[in-house]
Symmetry: C2
C-alpha cells in the first residue's frame, strides 16, 4: 500500500495527469481506461479518485493548460514591435518548441479536445477559433504590407498549425535529427512558403 511515487516538485495529481497525457497520446482518450491509467501510476483505479474527480477532469486540465500557454504567447507577439512575417515566425517557433518539449500535453490537447463535454467543449472551440483568427489577421496584415504572398490567410494558418503537429512523427522516429535542426527546417519551408520573394 505504498503511496504514489512522486518526483520532486510534482504533486500526486500532477503525476497522474502527466501519466494520463502519455496514455492519451498513445491510445487516445476513449481507449484509455482508468484501470490502464492506474496501472501505469502504480495504484488501484479507485485510488485515483483521491486526487482527481473524474476522467473528464484530466482532459480538461490538459486542454486548458495548453490553451492558456498559446493564448499567453500570442498576446505578447501581437504587442511586440515586429514585422508581420517575424510575428508569424515567432508564433511558429513557439508552436514547434512546445511540441518538442511538452509533446504529450500539446499533442493530446490538439487531438482529443473533441471528447470534452460542455461547457468546456464550447469554451475550447471558441478559443481555438479566436486563436486562428488572430494569426490570420497577422497574415492579412503581412499581405497588405507585401511581406507575405497574396494567399488565403485561413488556409495559411491551417497549413502552419497542422504542419507542426507532424512533429509527432519526429518523436516516434528512430533516426532523429536534432530538435534545433528540425525547427530550422520547418521555418525554412513554411516561412519560405509564405514570404514574398
Amino acid at each position: 500500500m505504498a503511496k504514489i511515487r512522486q518526483r520532486k516538485n510534482s504533486t500526486r495529481k500532477e503525476t497522474i495527469i502527466e501519466t494520463a497525457a502519455r496514455l492519451f497520446r498513445e491510445r487516445g482518450f476513449s481507449a484509455t481506461s482508468m484501470r490502464d491509467l492506474a496501472e501505469q501510476v502504480g495504484v488501484e483505479a479507485a485510488s485515483l479518485y483521491n486526487h482527481i474527480s473524474s476522467k473528464a477532469e484530466i482532459l480538461q486540465e490538459l486542454c486548458f493548460k495548453v490553451a492558456n500557454e498559446f493564448m499567453g504567447h500570442i498576446d505578447k507577439v501581437e504587442a511586440a514591435d515586429l514585422t508581420a512575417i517575424k510575428k508569424i515566425e515567432a508564433i511558429l517557433r513557439f508552436h514547434i518548441q512546445q511540441m518538442l518539449h511538452h509533446y504529450e500535453e500539446v499533442y493530446v490537447s490538439d487531438r482529443e479536445w473533441k471528447h470534452l463535454t460542455d461547457p468546456y467543449l464550447s469554451n475550447i472551440q471558441t478559443q481555438r477559433k479566436v486563436y486562428r483568427q488572430r494569426i490570420a489577421s497577422i497574415i492579412e496584415d503581412g499581405i497588405k504590407k507585401q511581406e507575405i504572398k497574396n494567399i488565403d490567410a485561413p488556409t495559411a494558418v491551417l497549413i502552419m498549425l497542422h504542419a507542426v503537429s507532424g512533429i509527432e512523427s519526429w518523436h516516434r522516429s528512430r533516426e532523429k535529427i536534432s530538435g534545433e535542426v528540425l525547427e530550422e527546417n520547418m521555418i525554412t519551408i513554411l516561412i519560405g512558403g509564405l514570404r514574398n520573394k
Copy 2:
C-alpha cells in the same frame, strides 16, 4: 423490420462502412459504439453482423482501401517522366484531392489506424513508413538536382502530409473558399516553400 435503405450502386456492407467512416471521423473509433452505428444506419446493432464480421473489420477495410489508393498513385508518379518538384506537386495535389472528395475515409484512416490490431497494424505501419520514404527519396533527388532547397527530406515529408490533414478544418468551417482555390493556395505555400528560388 424494413431492410437497410440502400442507395443505388452500393451494397449493404458499403452503406455500413460509409456511415461508420462518418461516425469514426466525428467521434473517433473507440468512442463510436456498434449501437451508435446501427442507429445511424437505421437498424438494430445485432443486424449489422449479417454484413460485417466485427467492428475491427470496418476499420481494416477503411484503412486498406485508402492505403491502396495512395500506393497506386505513387507508383504512377514514380514511373512518370517529371522533374522531382513536379512529382512532389503531383503527390501533394493527389493528397489534397483525396482529402477534398473522400474526406471521411481518408481522415479516419489517417487518424484511427492506431486502433488496428496485428497483423493489420504492422502491415499499415510498414506501408506508411515505406510510403514516406518513397516521397523522401523523390525530395532528395530534387535536392541533388537543385530543384529543391537543401532541407531535411523526412522533415519536408512530414510537413507536406500533415499540412494536408488540415483540410479537416476547411470542411468544418462555415465560410469556405472553393476546393480549387484551397488547392492552389496550398500548392503555392508548400511547393513555394520547397522550391529553390
